[in-house]
Amino acid sequence: MQRNDLDVATDTSTVDSRAEPANRSGLEIRDLSITFGGHTAVDRVSCAFHAGTLTSIVGPNGAGKTTLFNLISGQLNATAGSVRLFDEDITALGAPARADKGLGRAFQLTNLFPGLTALENVRLAVASRYRIGHIFWQMAARRRDISDRAAAYLEQVNLGKRADTPVANLPHGDQRKLEVALLLALEPEVFMFDEPTAGMSVDEVPVILDLIADIKKHQNKIILLVEHKMDVVRSLSDRIVVLHNGELVADGEPAQVIASPVVQQVYLGTSPDQPAAAGSAVS
């Protein structure tokens, strides 16, 4: 595992307890489906995601992007299909076990521990990553390695000065950044960002985008991104997957996918022979 500028510059005695995957063939979903009542929210979606690649999942509202994320990270159980991570079938595993295997997830709606401070939030993620959550005989405050690592992740998202602020008192933009810090602190094999910049002010957005770009550049990880801002998608993505009504309608390189007539039709609601409308929507 190559260390880089995203890694925390702290001398830690913590043992890396997650084994390096023997085979880095990545994350693969096959015929993944889920039905709520009579409605199929995700319909037989098959896709493979490879290390070192950032894949954006786009589609209109209600297309099933977040549901697909929930199926991959284990928050929802698939009605049919399978999820494989590094050639291991993880379909039957719950969310905690999948996180343990290296699937890290940041949520679209801020989902934190409101009564705890920002630092304690990140420390929980670091403690999970290094599997020390079961230790009941040692003071948490004495684990300087965990605290330093957590503090460094807070610095990365420009929240170093807010470390001791209870999350409930943080402004929305800072809570979004903290959501990303928790994901970084998990040091996952698969980064899943669900609209990471939603609700952020214009000057805060670059911090998060630079972080994602750094992960992509320096770490050989699988990155999945759900994002509505097409300029962000175009600038970061190696590949775009388009969902519509729960079905995968396009999958390929950004330029190729955006130019695709099918995508123009289902995602933008226009055909390619209406360049003005299409052009403004994707830029």
């Binding site: 996180a99 343990d100 521990f113 993620a125 959550g133």
Partner: protein
């Protein structure tokens, strides 16, 4: 000191002073308060601090509402009582009772935790309620084993009973409460009040049992303080705050919640064992009663949930009110004319009414419990807002 308190200090001068006072009162209690009633109450304070603190671990730190805590308390008490009933008053019987009770608690709490903690909180509470009532019925009906509603007398080893007198000499005691009352009511006769406050204590096995209970209580309190301030304790707080997110971070929350239920049940069982040794009599009324469960809940809430120190404050205040409110009303009743509305209201038989009123007022004025409120005031003072 930092290690002993696991970095989690009272964070309020008033609270620190109150805790120190309680600690000294419990540590020196047999030599500071005269009378068997007060001695019994001090023992019950030690026992219920364990019970309430272990309940706080579940309720305050993990948001698990259980109505089966008295069941585990009862398992401890009945474990000792049944063992002594069957095997006599030797150490073998005591050991068998302790091991049997702890094993039964581990098995039952493990089963309860693993089977029920997957369901929503309200259903878990209902399951524990049903199990606790079933256990109470079982104990009441198994007359041959448990003594039914009559209960069982506990025959502890001689060294833990009143007949054991290790020393021939007597230890001097000073009735601090009696002295203060006399000094305030007759300031001119302090010398006489001092003389009257002196009493002598003949050390017996009861004192040994009391101090075993006291030391166990202090050890368990600091153990729990360490636990809630450990990485494990942080995960419990995360589960309390947002279980869904804790799972997404990789924590198998069912296992953590089950572990908390088991630890809490074990400590309640230890408290039950100590209760049986101190009280020397066990029946469904004093161990498994639903009213007792509500009292434990009240002690936890009044003191302040999720603080542990609240267990100490809540238990002491509750037991003081329970034991002395009736006496206070008796004194007040004597001061007002009979057959008036006020006399009716402050009739000593109405002590529960006033007790309930005090509880409502405490919840109204201290929504985060006494400890929580004291900490809020202290934080405001130190930040200069007050």
């Amino acid at each position: 000191m930092n290690r002993l308190f696991s970095g989690d200090y009272p964070r309020s001068r008033l609270l620190s002073a109150a805790l120190l006072l309680i600690f000294l009162a419990l540590a020196l209690g047999p030599f500071l308060f005269d009378g068997i009633r007060t001695f019994s109450m001090l023992g019950m304070m030690c026992v219920f601090i364990i019970v309430v603190a272990s309940y706080d671990l579940m309720l305050g730190y993990t948001h698990i509402v259980s109505f089966a805590h008295t069941m585990f308390f009862g398992i401890g008490a009945y474990g000792i009582a049944i063992a002594s009933d069957h095997y006599g008053s030797g150490y073998g019987a005591l050991f068998a009772g302790i091991v049997g009770a702890l094993l039964a608690s581990v098995l039952l709490s493990l089963l309860l935790g693993l089977l029920s903690l997957r369901v929503k909180a309200i259903f878990f509470a209902l399951v524990t309620l049903a199990v606790a009532f079933a256990f109470l019925s079982l104990v009441t009906q198994l007359y041959n084993v448990t003594g039914g509603e009559d209960g069982l007398a506990v025959r502890s080893p001689r060294e833990l009973g009143p007949a054991f007198r290790p020393f021939d000499f007597q230890v001097p005691g000073f009735n601090i409460f009696g002295f203060l009352v006399a000094a305030v009511s007759s300031p001119g006769e302090i010398g006489q009040a001092f003389q009257e406050a002196l009493f002598s204590v003949r050390l017996s096995g009861r004192h040994l049992t009391y101090y075993i209970t006291f030391v166990t209580m202090v050890a368990i309190f600091f153990f729990l303080l360490r636990m809630v301030n450990s990485p494990f304790g942080r995960v419990l707080q995360a589960i309390r705050e947002n279980e869904f997110r804790a799972q997404a971070l990789g924590y198998r929350t069912v296992l953590y919640r089950t572990a908390v239920v088991v630890v809490s049940a074990l400590l309640a069982t230890v408290a039950g064992i100590l209760f049986a040794l101190l009280n020397r009599y066990v029946n469904p009324e004093n161990t498994l009663n639903f009213e007792l469960m509500i009292f434990i809940l009240l002690m936890c809430v009044i003191g302040g949930m999720g603080t542990l120190y609240g267990a100490v404050i809540g238990t002491v205040l509750f037991l003081l009110a329970q034991n002395y409110l009736q006496d206070l009303l008796k004194q007040l009743d004597a001061l007002v004319p009979a057959d008036t509305l006020i006399a009716e209201l402050i009739n000593p038989d109405r002590w529960l009414l006033w007790f309930g009123l005090l509880f409502i007022l405490s919840v109204y004025f201290f929504p985060s419990g006494i400890v929580g409120q004291l900490r809020i005031w202290s934080a405001k003072r130190s930040s200069g807002q007050d």
